[in-house]
């Protein structure tokens, strides 16, 4: 389980998170919505310990992330797969080597036979051909890079998957493919997923629950239907943009 209790974070004079309380239960898929620049990615980075909170606590599996030592934090991170917004693939390495780095168990990482089997398996899970393994990230399209990023995140068989804007910058068809993939991985691997996005349609398609981050706080948490029925002006303002195009709107 992932829990954020009263998390506060500021950068200089700008308050980004102002007492965030947020919980994700085991096996759930939760979408964290919010306009660009509201601190969604910052919140996600708190969960994996890339950013430390100024106040409050981030608790993963009963362990407070900010209090963990270097080794414990490293161990915790092996249970979390993080999908970065632009893939964050290592551009000097092939797709094979990128995904191999995701195998966080050192014994398996050094086991050539295991890697030769596991990496095509991960590519298959994200609907990529095994031949893609030999390519460099620069030779991939935006959608493929995102999928390789996901393949790297799942290579170590994590318990949690954190997606940072997995569909941003993609055309609607590719965005749907990624959304389906998020849903498929949650179902087949049984992982707990947190997806940060500003794509309402995609969030509603894949998630069990959605939460809206606005003005540094979670202003609403609930099922997609509860979200749509909310009269909160901040929720209404956020939904306004594409509410009429939404499948639930009918």
């Amino acid at each position: 389980m992932i829990e954020l209790r009263g998390v506060r974070k500021r950068f200089g004079d700008q308050v980004v998170l102002d007492g965030v309380d947020f919980t994700v239960g085991d096996g759930e898929t939760v979408a964290l919505l919010g306009p660009s620049g509201t601190g969604k990615s910052v919140l996600l980075k708190h969960i994996i310990g890339l950013i430390r909170p100024d106040a409050g606590a981030v608790i993963v599996d009963g362990r407070e992330v900010a209090r963990l030592g270097r080794k414990e934090l490293s161990e915790l991170r092996t249970t979390i797969g993080y999908v970065f917004q632009n893939g964050a693939l290592f551009d000097s390495m092939s797709v094979f080597e990128n995904i191999r780095l995701g195998i966080t168990d050192e014994k398996l990482f050094n086991d050539r036979a295991y890697c030769a089997e596991r990496i095509p398996e991960c590519l298959k899970l994200v609907n990529l051909e095994p031949e893609a393994a030999e390519k460099l990230p620069a030779q991939l399209s935006g959608g493929m890079r995102k999928r390789v990023g996901i393949a790297r995140a799942i290579a170590g068989q994590p318990k949690y998957l954190l997606y940072d804007e997995p569909t941003s910058g993609l055309d609607p068809v590719n965005a749907d493919i990624i959304d389906d993939l998020v849903k498929h991985l949650a179902e087949t691997l049984g992982v707990t997923s947190v997806m940060v996005t500003h794509d309402v349609r995609g969030a509603f398609r894949v998630s069990d629950r959605v939460a809206l981050l606005s003005d540094g706080q979670i202003v609403l948490e609930g099922t997609p239907k509860e979200f749509l029925a909310s009269a909160d002006p901040r929720v209404r303002a956020f939904l306004e943009r594409d509410f009429h195009n939404h499948p639930f709107a009918a």
Binding site: L50, S74, F84, D91
Partner: protein, 262 residues
Amino acid sequence: MFETLLRLPHAIGRAVLRSLAHVGRFSLLTAELFRALGEWRIWLPRTLDEARNIGIGSLFIVLLISGFAGAVTALQTGYQFTGSLPLYVVGTLIVESIVLELGPVLTGLILAGRIGARYAAELGTMRVTEQIDALESLGRSPASHLLIPRVLAGLVMVPVLTVFANAIGVLAGWWSAKQVLPISNTDFTYGAQYYWRPFDAWYSLIKAFFFAASITLIPCYMGFNTKQGAEGVGRAVTTAVVASSVIILLLDTVLARILLHS
């Protein structure tokens, strides 16, 4: 005017705080490097690759510049001292100038541009494209994967390149001297050996080692702490090259004072 004066302490305070923050972050980075030395299975193969890149990639430019430096030293020595000093002094001046000063300093300054700029740009780009965050998110240490290989490769290869630079500089100087002066090989080698002390070679290597630390650590630090996209990468590269070049010249003076006059 009065307002400017009032703002002065504030500006000085901010500059001091900024400098202290740099010192703190640099110290933490250095401590992290020492801590990660135990993960040799990770950094050793990468260090060998990096050393090969630095060594082979920089050899031509280092030899070219040191060759020209040796030749110019010989030509100017010949111009200044012909008729006033014995010819063998040319051998002394060329060897001592190259080994004590020009070889290590020119190699250091060239490599500050070539390797330092590359390190800062590579790490800076990795930082702003979240590749370093990605490495950390996978539970892996950026120090053993990215920093130690670069620093160790530099600490080994810069002194090696300096030895080559010294040798080519002296040979080029010797050849040039013979083109413009009636100096024999015997005169040149006599002059070269007359004031030679074995410590001179060690001094050259010690300098190269310290320059290597400046060429690698400063750009790694600048690249690792890059912020604000492409502009930030550009700023990190410029700062890294300028800072490591200035530190090389500072170290040159300090080491001369400590090692040659103590």
